[in-house]
Every structure is written in C-alpha cells, then in structure tokens.
C-alpha cells in the first residue's frame, strides 16, 4: 500500500505492507535507527516516537496507520545544534548508561515538558512506562526535572 507521511519535517512516500510496524518502517526503510526496539509489545517504551505530537509506542502502530501524519523521532531533537537542552541535561547528569532506553525516554519527556512544568512525581510516573535495565532512573529524573525548572 502507498504510504505518505512527514518524518522529522521531510515528506516521505513509500510502498508498505500493512503489517509493517512503524518502528520497523523507521529503522529499516528510513534508516532512522535512533528509535530502538525492545519488547515489541508496548511494555518497555524504547520505541517511543511522536505522532502528531503524541508520544506513542511505534511498535504498537502499523506504518500504514500514520498516513498523512507528522512523525518525529529522536534524530530530530538536536535540530542543527549539537544537542537539545534536554539531551544536554541528560549528558550533564549522566542520565544514560547503555543508552538503549534513552531515545524513547527523550521523546516521552519532550511531550511532558511541552505540556507544562511537571512535578518530580509526574516525571517518575512517566518513567514507569520506560524500562531502563541499567536502572539509572534517579539521574534521568534529575535531568528532566532540571529542564522542567529551567
């Protein structure tokens, strides 16, 4: 089927099989491997991207369902700069170890931060949907909190 959408500001047109997951479409068709694939059933949060602004799990969406949508992945965060303020904060706080969960967390945190100034509890609640097996959650909360307070 013919799919047309915008990914990180770029118009994309591709023929896809209906069963192709958005996560696989981004990684294998567009080479956007910053979106990571963990559990493939919506539990780990590693594959989180934004569709029309909403942070969602790309392993639970078929690419064909994003017809005409605007998709934003971790590759778009820095947008010409070396790092975005949120990415800078992650670096400063050592908020990543292996980095597998990081891109999903960044995309979810970006949405949370756009909605207002989250409390520490709200940040923790958000992170309950993102599994970090290095278990380095405290610095992640610190980094997001710092940007929230900035």
């Amino acid at each position: 089927m013919e799919l047309e959408l915008t990914v990180n500001g770029r118009r994309v047109r591709e023929a896809v099989e209906p069963r192709l997951l958005l996560s696989d479409f981004l990684r294998h068709r567009l080479g956007l491997t910053g979106t990571h694939v963990g559990c493939e059933h919506g539990v780990c949060g590693a594959c989180t991207v934004r569709i029309d602004g909403a942070a969602v799990r790309s392993c639970l969406v078929f690419a064909i369902q994003t017809q005409g949508c605007e998709v934003r992945t971790v590759e778009a965060l820095a947008a010409g700069r070396p790092l975005s303020p949120l990415q800078e904060a992650f670096r400063r706080h050592h908020a990543l170890q292996c980095g597998f969960c990081t891109s999903g967390i960044l995309m979810a945190a970006e949405e949370l931060l756009e909605r207002g100034r989250p409390s520490r509890d709200e940040i923790v609640d958000l992170l309950s949907g993102h599994l970090c097996r290095c278990t380095g959650y405290e610095p992640i909360v610190d980094a997001i909190e710092e940007v929230a307070g900035a």
Partner: protein
C-alpha cells in the same frame, strides 16, 4: 514478534467500517488504538485476515447530553483523562491504565469492546451504570460483559460510543498492581453505596450484598471493615503465579475498606 499478514482497510465513516467488516466476515477485526490488539498480533495470538481501521471513521469526541457524558468509541483514553468533563471515578482509574504512551493512542471504546476482565474502564462503566452504544442498539454495561474478552456483541457489531451517567455521589477507585501500569491484581470502584470489583472476577461485578449492607447505614470504621470482609467472602478468584486465591480475596477486602473510607471522608 512480527504480526501475520492481513488486509488493511482505513474506514472514513461508520458505514464504510460496517461494510468492510461485513465483507471481511468473521475473520475481520476492527482496529482503533491497537494498544491491546497489536501486542496480540505481534505475538500471533490472534490472526485476523482483515483489519478495519476505525481511527478516522468520525467516531471520536466527547459531548455532554441528557445527564450523561457521551464518549465516542475512538476517543483516546488520554483525551478523556484531560477533559474537564471526565467523571471523577474515571479520572482516578485512567491514571492506572498502562502508561501515558499507551493512553495517548488507546481508545475508550476499544478498551470496552476488548473486555479484559482486569480493564479499569470496563469496571468504571459497570460501576457507574453506564451504557454501551453500538451501530444497532444500546446495551446497559451491566449486561454487556460476559467473561474475559467476551461481550454480547454480535458478529460485525461495532461499539460506536459509551454513555457515562452523571453521579453526584462521591466515587473512589482503588487498585493494586505489582508494577505501575501492569494489570491489577484486584480493583474496586465505590460509587455511593455501589461497590464493584474487577480483576478478581471474570467480568466487572457489582457486589449487591455489600450495597445492601451499606444502604442507609451511617459511615463508620466497623461498617467499612464489615463491608470489606463481606466483599472478600463474595469473590472466588482462581489465583495465579503472583498471588494465591486467599491473598486476592483478602486484598479485595482491603481495597473495598480503603475505598469506602476515602469516599466517606470526601463527602
């Protein structure tokens, strides 16, 4: 973890959706947010031959009408959660459903039609005495759920909306899950004197005997304890790897007690 092949049809109206479902026969399934269906597809637990996407069929939106809130089937859980009109009980329950990322896409109608025995929205709709609206009829929520993943929906019948009646009694939702966002071990909704339990039953169940005990009685610590003990005696969960039947019964009693105390202290 890749889904089997299927045919995909994006419906742009209810009529298109119904026609595509009818044409696809019993192996056609509607998909809305897909937050339960896509994991099941990825794990190949289900193999529909055709998916009819109703996400853009004009079935979303929240309107207030005749003493209730009408929530279009494809309204996302997140939209309802952030709506000023969201019933207080539902708002409490929504925060326990998956995570922000799944609520951003998961729909209210999808959760109801999926009818997981541990689904918070199904419990709330039963607790509030709401209604399921389909393309052909209105079904009281208390007559809608049959057992796990099973409802009275006929083949090809589509949930188009749910009706959530306004209740001016204090309402409290309580659940215990092993991890945030996981399925609850047990959950309880208290709305006035109506006590409804889920996850420990095969469908959301109003505990009428607890309601009878509470009716007209002044709130007290003893009454809460008595109601909790009665609730625990009325459920008969099978138990699983994480919790024994005795634990689940006890837990349900504790949640009922806790919910009643909260409801009374807020009234």
């Amino acid at each position: 973890m890749k889904p089997p092949a299927f045919e995909y049809f994006a419906a742009r109206s209810l009529d298109e959706a119904l026609a595509a479902l009818a044409e696809g026969g019993e192996d056609a399934k509607p998909i809305a947010g897909g937050q339960s269906l896509v994991p099941a597809l990825n794990m190949r637990l289900v193999r529909p031959t055709r998916l009819v996407d109703i996400g853009r069929a004009g079935l979303n939106g929240i309107v207030r009408e005749n003493g209730c809130l009408r929530v279009g089937a494809t309204t996302t859980q997140r939209t309802l959660e952030r709506s000023d009109d969201c019933p207080p009980l539902v708002r409490q329950a929504l925060s326990h459903i998956g995570h922000v990322g799944t609520r951003n896409r998961g729909t209210v109608g999808g959760s109801i039609a999926h009818a997981d025995g541990a689904a918070e929205l199904c419990l709330c709709l039963v607790a509030l005495g709401g209604t399921v609206v389909t393309d052909r009829r209105e079904i009281p929520a208390r007559a809608f759920f049959v057992t796990h993943y099973t409802t009275v929906l006929a083949a090809g019948e589509l949930v188009t909306a749910t009706l959530w009646p306004d209740r001016d009694q204090p309402a409290v939702f309580e659940e215990l899950a092993l991890r945030a966002g996981d399925y609850a071990l047990s959950m309880v909704a208290v709305s006035g004197a109506t006590v409804t339990v889920g996850a420990v039953t095969e469908r959301p169940t109003v505990l009428g005997e607890v309601g009878d005990l509470l009716a007209g009685e002044p709130a007290s610590e003893e009454l809460a304890r008595e109601a909790g003990a009665l609730a625990a005696s009325l459920v008969d969960p099978p138990g699983h790897a994480h919790a024994s039947p005795a634990y689940l019964k006890h837990l349900t009693g504790v949640l009922v007690e806790r919910a009643l105390r909260k409801a009374w202290s807020s009234s």
